[in-house]
Amino acid sequence: MTTTFKVIVNGQHQLAVDPSQGTLLEAIEAAGIESHYHCRNGFCGACRTQLIEGQVNYINEPLAFIRPGDCLPCCCVPASNLKIEHR
């Protein structure tokens, strides 16, 4: 059984994201939204994204500091419906 979560990016794009199909960053890219990243491995923090609403699960443990209210989409998947600002 797969669950799909609704992810609203930058208040204008609505994505249906299946957490078993890859990271949040990959979902953002697949939707054609400009993405920001460097290492794609959770240690550089370049993909830092504001997590306005919802929860994420980390599939790889991030080494970059995650400030409250942020998430690192390169190594996480949605755990609920999300609202994020990825700019």
């Binding site: 400009e34 290492c39 240690f43 830092r48 080494l63 970059a64 500091f65 400030r67």
Partner: protein, 376 residues
């Protein structure tokens, strides 16, 4: 307060602050106050590489076909990077080891600095291949005024912290006269110097390398100087990890997860930290100007490079709690990213050594989900 290489006071490292507590005695890693530094050590060790693994012999042919302005760009960047890594290969050790108080951070600092010495060795590897005698390039690093300006700014926070730590460790708090000059030493002031120093190093790791990286990868985009670009990719991957550590330290202080006095200092010196970052950004832009003074190169000019510095700076400043100061919100050099992805390091084994192979990478965590695909 005087430094001891094996502090015989029985202290609990789980209760020590990162800096200015009891100096570390037993190098033990079975328990950590800040587990992140242990993880950074593991990651850095798994990234281990040597410059000799990368074949740079084709670069000499490419280099000779570059225009004079392109040669200026290429060599100047190598000089600047040599300066940065000369500083970083020693300064974290000299400035931070005498005052560090937890074993995992002490070892992280040593691991970090060691990896910077590998970077320095790779610049020699690159230059020795390009020139029969690279002495002229190395000698110019000390006398080139553009590089000097940067050296002054990079080393002054370190030097200040080192000097006052020495006074504190030999004379304690109070006023002391050295060579006819009066110096007032207090632990609070030392902590302030440490805060500024870490912010300056953070800015260095965050933005100072990126103008040079962009030039290197712009050559690689034209299939030029590819050996050099492979080395710089490995360096960029390491630098990203080092940056992560300075961001961790600053955030741990800001969020009061370490020394409570450092939290106060972080608030008190917020404006100074901001200015340190902004002046590093300004200097990088001036560097871009210096690089392109004899002419641009295909795919890159001063303006677009300055936009890239602003783009990166926004990202880095938000990571330590500042608002993004620049308007540049989209990436003006999207091709840069493919060189910065850590897993992408090399995919054509027939061309050269495979550098994406992680030496000593350990992953022994198995969850039930890993066996999900099995059926009996």
């Amino acid at each position: 307060m005087s430094y001891s290489t094996f502090n015989q006071t029985a202290s609990n490292p789980l209760l020590e602050p990162m800096f200015f507590g009891n100096s570390v005695n037993v190098a033990r890693y079975d328990q950590q106050k800040h587990v992140i530094f242990e993880k950074l050590i593991e990651k850095q060790l798994s990234f281990f590489w040597r410059p000799e693994e990368i074949d740079v012999s084709r670069d000499r042919v490419d280099f000779n076909s570059l225009t004079d302005s392109e040669k200026h760009i290429f060599i100047s960047n190598l000089k600047y990077q040599t300066l940065l890594d000369s500083v970083q290969g020693r300064s974290p050790n000299i400035a931070l080891l005498p005052i560090v108080s937890i074993p995992e951070l002490e070892t992280w600092i040593e691991t970090w600095s060691f990896s910077e010495t590998i970077h320095s060795r790779s610049y020699t590897h690159i230059l020795r291949n390009l020139f029969t005698d690279p002495s002229e390039v190395f000698e110019d690093i000390v006398i080139n005024t553009e590089i000097q300006k940067r050296a002054t700014d990079i080393s002054r926070y370190y030097d200040d912290l080192i000097f006052y730590t020495q006074l504190w460790q030999t004379h304690g708090e109070g006023t002391v006269e050295v060579l006819g000059e009066q110096h007032t030493v207090s632990l609070r002031d030392l902590k302030k110097k440490l805060f500024l120093c870490i912010n300056s190093v953070n800015a260095l790791e965050a933005v100072r390398f990126y103008v040079s990286f962009a030039c290197t990868f712009a050559f690689a985009e034209r299939d030029l100087m590819e050996g050099n670009s492979k080395i710089i990719r490995l360096i960029a991957r390491d630098e990203n990890l080092h940056l992560s550590s300075t961001q961790q330290i600053i955030n741990l202080w800001q969020y009061g997860k370490d020394d409570p006095e450092m939290r106060e200092i972080a608030e008190e010196l917020r404006e100074d930290a901001y200015q340190i970052f902004m002046s590093a950004v300004e200097q990088e832009k001036q560097w871009a100007h210096y690089l392109f003074k004899h002419g641009s190169m295909i795919g890159l000019n001063e303006e677009i490079l300055c936009q890239y510095v602003e783009y990166i700076a926004n990202m880095r400043m938000q990571a330590i709690g500042f608002d993004a100061p620049f308007k540049q919100r989209s990436n003006p050099l999207p091709w840069m990213n493919k060189y910065l992805v850590s897993d992408n390091v090399q995919v054509a084994p027939q061309e050269a050594e495979i550098s994406s192979y992680l030496v000593g990478q350990i992953d022994n965590e198995v969850s039930a989900a890993d066996l999900g695909g099995f059926e009996l």
